[in-house]
Each structure stands twice: as structure tokens, then as C-alpha cells.
């Protein structure tokens, strides 16, 4: 099982009744597994992580075991309920699964979730393989109920997406009685009540620190006393791989910390090293105890660790006998929008209008890369509309008619609705383009409130973006098919010139979706002798196109090359057809 599968299995075995999440790499598969494998658990996608946590909190208030799942930056969105949930506590067990992404394999920053545990004064568990991922869900729920606190389970890309063997058990239900219980002193966070809750939180943290001393997932493994390593998560596995003889303090709970255990371990070893990636979280806590320790001067603050990095940190060199590199300049292979992607068509139309693009998070963020190069900023989920409005209002004529915000449908439902409302409310001339591809594409096509289906593909409502914008007061709402590039180009030009806020919905299903497909799936071809080699089609960045260089031109041929379509990849979106000025692109016979 992968770590994510282990977490889903843990939810099943330990009696979780409700799970809620918003997709985000590397956490997405957890709710997908729950949806596919465990019908006993009520589960669904929430529009965003804040809502996911609130839904899970409701279940826990009612006595049910509950789980909210998100990637690290999702906890920023859910930070508001998170910080005060710490005060109210729970009733049924509540575990918040947060998957960090050190190295930013698929993220915009590499924040370290352990800081949130400390900030929110809640315990944080960290598995080091898939078996522990499953087991620690059970421990998290038990701790949550015993200490009346939400509990974070921190995973990482390497835990979530690594597979290891897992022993399974049957499901058992949570111990709490379900029901609507009135307890305003505990659950209504008016200042007077919150003031009473805060000391309870502080005492709880002390009690948890005492519990950490005997928690069975915190353990000392004595080996050679010349080197003692404190570590957790996948980094423990790396350290044990490269220094199997060393002594270890392996932490399954990284907040609060077992002070006595740490002192005890430190006193037994000659050299003490902390192996952790990102922030010096354990290191600072150990230093505060007055214990000399080595850490970040060896392992660094940025990026994830790896077996060789840990070995070099501990011994100064790698013992592996690598064959070495082959010295060739390699072209990078970044992810790219797929052949037939409707976003490519929209960006092509925007490019013709030479606009500044206020970006957002999704597949279309890849529009920043060459040859499109169309995104001018991308901050966080839902930021694009607000940033565009700010630019428009602050810069006046300098920005008027020159900037658009782009946002995908899933991101719009996540956190784009409130900035759209702000734009309608405070006005300006911003043009917003919703790239509605009918799915949450970047994370692998999950449903959302606009698709008409739930996590388990049950039919449900399909939120209507046009009506929503209308009810916000938008007067200018246009819906276009992005593959009709010239039409979209004109619509963008008109809306840019409008003196009031406008909304363009550029709607076509993701090219990977089978449902509602409008693509012909009939590859086009380019007539080699008609093609002038101008690269208009190539500059859309479609992977189904290739620029073939002419090494030995025939007399009179001044072209450097011509374009060719890979019929195995082309799905017939006609974006290249639309941009070709020389009619070189033809329907395949």
C-alpha cells in the first residue's frame, strides 16, 4: 500500500464515519481510496480545505470519528477553524491529515506543517512508512478523544507516494455516543468562554508532553553509542539506511516532544544529530533544553533530504560507487498542457490581445512556461482575481484594458467566488476569464460542485457560474468555446475595453475527459510544402506538434524548417488550424 492508501485504510479500520477533503498533491488519493473502497465512510469533496475541516469538525462535535485531508498549503486556508478548534476541542476523534511537499514536487512553497501544530497547540504525529500511516490514524483518533483535541497527522510526498507492506485488520467503530449535545461553555467561542478554554488548552499540552514519554511510537533504538540520531518520518528511514549501526530516537509524535526521553537519549550518546528536512523544528526544541546538538548546519533548510544527502551530512561523503554522469546538456522535461488542452486555446487567444495575466493554480499555471509564457503572476489558490482588481484600481489607465485574471473552475469554487464578489462590489474594469474545463484537472480529474457529480460519481447539483455572477451583480457575462479562437479573441478585446467588470467563461471539457467530449479525436495534418515554417502553431506549445529543421534545403526554399503533427498524439482540437495564416493545416483524410 502507498502511505495514502494506508491512511485511507486507517480511516476505515479505526471507525471514521466522515471524511472531507479538497484535492491537492500529494494528499489527493486518500479521499479517492476512501470513496472507492470504503462505503462505510461518508465522504465527499469540499469546495476548499476550510470547509472540509468544518464539516469534519461538525461530525466530531456530534461524537463521530472524523477526518479532514489536505495538502500543506490547504491548512493555510483551513487555519481559521483550525486555530479555534484547538480551543473547543472535539468529542469524537478528529484527525487532520496534512501532506507536506518538501522539494515542491507539485507545490508553490515548502512550508513545514509542524509549525502549525506548535502554533495551534495541538499534537502532531508523523508516520515513517505505510504501516505506521495506517496505525497512527488509530493513535491520532484515540489521542484526540482522550485529550479532547484535534490531532494533525503529518505526511509528506515521500510517505504518501511510497509503497510498503501493511497488515490489515477489521473495522471497529469509535467509542463515543453520537448525538446533538448542548455544551456552550465548551463549544461557543465567545470571549468569556474562550478565556476559560485557553488555560485548558495549555494544560492539555502539558498532559500531552507527559503522554509523549510513554507513547509507543516514540522509541529509543540503542546501537553504537558514538552516534545518536533523532529523526522522524521518511528521514528516519534514510538515516537508518545510511547509518544502520547508529543509535536512534525515532519520534512518531513530533509535537509536543518527550523532554525526558530526549535528555535520556542525549546522555547516552557521544554525538547527537537531528535529521529533519525544512525547518529546524526538533533542533530548536532540543537546543532550548540546553542540549548541544548538530542539525541544520549539516542538513540545510531547503528541499527534501535523500539517502545520499543524509549520508553526506553524517559522514561527509557518500559511500556509493556511482557510475557517474554522462556529460550531455539535457533538455528539461517540464510538465506541459496536454495535446488538445482547452487552456492552450484560451491562452492563444489571450496572447493575441497582448494582455497581462493575473494567474491562479491549476493546469493553466503551466501557461507560464515557454513558448506560451502567458502567466505574469501566481500566488495562491484564488488569488488571481483579487490581485487583478488591485492592479486595475491602483494603476488606473496604466492597467485599464490590459490585464485579465484567469482561474479554473475548481479553483473558482475553492476561493474565487469571494474575490469575484469583491470585484462586483467595489467595481473597476477588470476582466475575469474562468477556464471552465469541468473538472479538477491538475490533481487527476476530481469532481467539484460544478461538475454535477460527487466523489462517488453520484449525480448532484451543478453550480451555475453564470447565474452566480449575475446574482453578484455582473452585467457583462460572456460564455465562449475556447477552440473558436478568433471569436474568443474578439470577445476578450471587447471586454477589455468595457469600463466595468466583465466575466468571460471559456468552457470546454479537459482533453483527458471522456464525458461531454467535444474534441473530434481525428488528428489533423500539416502540408509540408504549404507550411512556411513561421512557427505560429509551434508557439502554442502543443506536444503533438514538432518543428522539423531543414538541414539541406532545395534551391529557392528559404525556410529553416516546417511543422509536423504527430498523429498518435493529436486529438483534433484545431488550435493550430486556427492560428495558421497559410492554410497549411488540413483535416486528415
Amino acid at each position: 500500500m502507498s502511505g495514502n492508501e494506508g491512511i485511507a485504510r486507517g480511516a476505515y479500520e479505526y471507525g471514521v464515519r466522515l471524511a472531507s477533503a479538497y484535492p491537492g498533491t500529494p494528499s489527493t488519493e486518500i479521499l479517492e481510496y476512501i470513496g472507492a473502497l470504503y462505503p462505510e465512510i461518508t465522504a465527499g469533496w469540499a469546495p476548499n480545505e476550510k470547509v472540509a475541516l468544518e464539516v469534519a469538525a461538525g461530525a466530531a462535535y456530534g461524537g463521530a470519528r472524523a477526518m479532514a485531508v489536505m495538502k500543506h498549503v490547504g491548512l493555510n486556508v483551513a487555519a481559521d477553524p483550525f486555530m479555534t478548534l484547538s480551543y473547543t476541542g472535539v468529542n469524537g476523534g478528529l484527525v487532520i491529515v496534512v501532506c507536506d511537499d518538501p522539494e515542491m514536487h507539485s507545490s508553490q512553497n515548502e512550508q513545514d506543517t509542524r509549525n502549525y501544530a506548535k502554533f495551534g497547540k495541538v499534537p502532531c504525529l508523523e508516520p515513517s512508512d505505510s504501516q505506521e500511516a495506517k496505525d497512527l490514524i488509530g493513535e491520532a483518533l484515540r489521542i484526540s478523544e482522550e485529550f479532547d483535541t484535534p490531532v494533525i497527522l503529518r505526511s509528506s510526498t515521500r510517505i504518501s507516494h511510497s509503497m510498503s507492506l501493511v497488515e490489515t485488520k477489521n473495522r471497529s467503530e469509535g467509542p463515543k455516543e453520537l448525538g446533538l449535545k448542548k455544551d456552550p461553555m465548551k463549544f461557543v467561542m465567545l470571549p468569556a468562554m474562550a478565556r476559560r478554554r485557553h488555560p485548558i488548552v495549555e494544560q492539555r499540552l502539558k498532559d500531552l508532553a507527559a503522554f509523549a514519554e510513554t507513547f509507543s511510537f516514540n522509541k529509543i533504538i540503542m546501537g553504537d553509542e558514538s552516534l545518536g540520531i533523532i529523526s522522524s518520518g521518511v528521514n528516519f528511514q534514510y538515516a537508518r539506511e545510511v547509518a544502520p549501526a547508529a543509535s536512534f530516537l525515532k519520534l512518531g509524535m513530533v509535537w509536543p516532544l518527550p523532554g525526558k526521553m530526549i535528555r535520556d537519549f542525549a546522555s547516552k550518546v557521544k554525538r547527537l544529530v537531528i535529521v529533519e528536512d525544512l525547518d529546524p523544528f526538533l533542533e530548536e526544541a532540543v537546543r532550548l533544553m540546553g542540549i548541544p546538538v548538530e542539525g541544520k548546519e549539516l542538513t540545510g533548510l531547503c528541499s527534501e533530504l535523500s539517502p545520499e544527502k543524509v549520508e553526506i551530512a553524517l559522514t561527509g561523503a557518500s559511500s556509493a560507487k556511482s557510475i557517474g554522469a554522462i556529460d550531455v546538456e539535457l533538455p528539461l522535461r517540464p510538465p506541459n498542457m496536454c495535446p488538445g488542452c482547452p487552456h492552450r486555446a484560451t491562452f492563444t487567444a489571450l496572447k493575441k490581445n497582448k494582455v497581462y495575466v493575473s494567474g491562479d493554480i491549476g493546469c493553466y499555471t503551466l501557461g507560464a512556461l515557454p513558448p506560451l509564457g502567458m502567466l505574469d503572476h501566481c500566488l495562491c489558490m484564488g488569488a488571481g482575481i483579487g490581485v487583478a482588481s488591485g492592479l486595475d484600481r491602483a494603476l488606473g489607465d496604466l492597467a485599464k484594458g490590459k490585464a485579465v485574471a484567469v482561474i479554473g473552475d475548481s479553483t473558482f469554487f475553492h476561493s474565487g467566488m469571494t474575490p469575484l464578489l469583491e470585484l462586483a462590489y467595489n467595481g473597476g474594469s477588470t476582466t475575469v476569464v474562468i477556464l471552465d474545463n469541468r473538472t479538477t484537472a491538475m490533481t487527476g480529474a476530481q469532481n467539484h460542485p460544478g461538475t454535477g457529480f460527487t466523489l462517488r460519481e453520484t449525480p448532484t447539483i451543478s453550480a451555475d457560474i453564470e447565474k452566480l455572477a449575475e446574482s453578484f451583480g455582473f452585467k457583462r457575462i460572456r460564455t465562449v468555446n475556447p477552440y473558436k479562437i478568433k471569436e474568443l479573441e474578439d470577445v476578450v478585446a471587447e471586454e477589455l475595453n468595457a469600463p466595468e467588470p466583465s466575466l468571460i467563461i471559456s468552457r470546454a471539457p479537459c482533453a483527458l475527459l471522456k464525458a461531454g467530449r467535444i474534441l473530434s479525436d481525428k488528428p489533423l495534418k500539416i502540408e509540408k510544402d504549404v507550411c512556411k515554417g513561421c512557427k505560429s502553431c509551434i508557439n502554442t506549445g502543443c506536444p503533438a506538434l514538432e518543428f522539423v529543421k531543414i538541414e539541406e534545403p532545395v534551391e529557392g526554399d528559404k525556410r529553416k524548417g516546417f511543422s509536423r503533427i504527430n498523429s498518435g498524439l493529436c486529438v483534433g482540437c484545431r488550435t493550430c488550424f486556427e492560428v495558421c495564416k497559410f492554410d497549411a493545416v488540413k483535416e486528415a483524410s
Binding site: 510526498t157 534514510y238 557510475i323 554522462i326 533538455p331 506541459n336 483527458l512 512557427k535 518543428f547 529543421k549
Partner: protein
């Protein structure tokens, strides 16, 4: 090969080539054989044509899910230049299996950069017994271009000490019934092509 060691297999290529399936099957085979198994892959944005790598490690006891740079016993690469990208992971004595296939990255298909020349030759300079084959072509001859990954699994099985029946068992269990025959054929074809 002694039984205490850990085997390190690194499978690389481009999103959409069936790398994850191949490594899943290998992981299940090793587990069925009684090994401890760990496996890790980076596929965050792989569906969008990015570079993909899957680490498979098995033996009596495995700690890290990731192969240490320089310790891969086998580098199985589904694409020419991806072999070079991950080459330093290979140990001095490591084996290389390369698909004779070029998938052009954006800088190349847009004409900004050339695809490196003579990649296979450069690999052979370092690893003379590197096995090079066009798996898609062989798969097409077998009747289904999508079984290229299972041909490679067949090749790989010759380098490892797990009985062939275990692979066949796992393939039968993890595939749709109508795809079993063609995949078993592809697996055997791969075995017949391996040089060891």
C-alpha cells in the same frame, strides 16, 4: 546474488508510458516472493508529460523507499535521454535497459534546442552490455503497442532472482482477463530478448 542484499531497480521515462504499472507489478512480485518491498515514485504532474521515476527496492529488510544515488542495480529507461537524466543513480556494476525511443521535450519540439545526439552510443561507452530495444515496435508486432512495459518487465526478470511463475501469477491477477494472454506473451518475449 546472496539473499541478504537489497535489490534496487530504478524505472524512468515520461508520463503516460506505463512506468507506474510496471513498477507496481514488480513490487507485488517481490512481495509475493517473500521480500520486504518499498517503492516510491514521483508522478506529481506526470500526466502532463513530465519526467517520471519509480524506485523499487526489495530484500530481506528495506529501510529507505528511495535508492541512494549510485546504488541502482538496474536502470530501466523507457526513453533515451531520461536514461541520462537518472544515470548517476546507477552503480558501477549496474545494468542498463534502454528503450530505443525519443520523446521530444518542449524545448526540442519547438525547435529551440536539439535532441542530444548518439545517446545510445554514449550509454554503451559507459555500459557496454547495455540492452537496447525498441519495445513499442516489438509490442506492435505482438499486436498491442501498450504492452511495451510488460516486455521490459520480462527483460528485467532475467536480471533478478525471482521465479518466472511469480511474475505470471501477479500479471494474471492484476490484469483484466482479456488482456492476460497478450501480456504473458509480451513478458515471455521480453525474457527471450534479455542477454543474460
Amino acid at each position: 546474488m546472496s539473499n541478504d542484499r537489497v535489490y534496487n531497480v530504478l524505472i524512468v521515462g515520461v508520463g503516460g508510458q506505463g512506468i507506474i504499472l510496471a513498477s507496481d507489478v514488480l513490487g507485488m512480485v517481490a512481495a509475493r516472493h517473500g521480500y520486504d518491498v518499498k517503492k516510491n515514485e514521483i508522478h506529481g504532474m506526470a500526466q502532463r508529460g513530465g519526467s517520471v521515476s519509480s524506485h523499487v527496492r526489495f530484500g530481506k529488510f528495506v529501510s529507505s523507499p528511495i535508492i541512494k544515488m549510485g546504488e541502482a542495480d538496474v536502470l530501466l529507461s523507457f526513453e533515451q535521454i531520461e536514461t541520462l537524466r537518472y544515470f548517476p543513480f546507477l552503480s558501477e556494476k549496474g545494468k542498463v535497459i534502454v528503450n530505443d525511443l525519443k520523446i521530444l521535450p518542449p524545448a526540442v519540439f519547438t525547435g529551440k534546442q536539439d535532441y542530444p545526439a548518439d545517446v545510445i552510443g554514449k550509454i554503451k561507452e559507459k555500459v557496454p552490455d547495455a540492452l537496447v530495444m525498441n519495445a513499442e515496435e516489438i509490442a506492435t508486432q505482438l499486436g498491442n503497442p501498450r504492452v511495451a512495459n510488460v516486455i521490459f518487465l520480462g527483460v528485467l526478470s532475467k536480471y533478478l532472482d525471482i521465479p518466472v511463475e511469480t511474475y505470471e501469477e501477479v500479471l494474471k491477477e492484476s490484469l483484466k482477463p482479456k488482456l492476460v494472454d497478450i501480456n504473458l506473451k509480451a513478458f515471455q518475449k521480453g525474457r527471450s530478448l534479455a542477454a543474460v
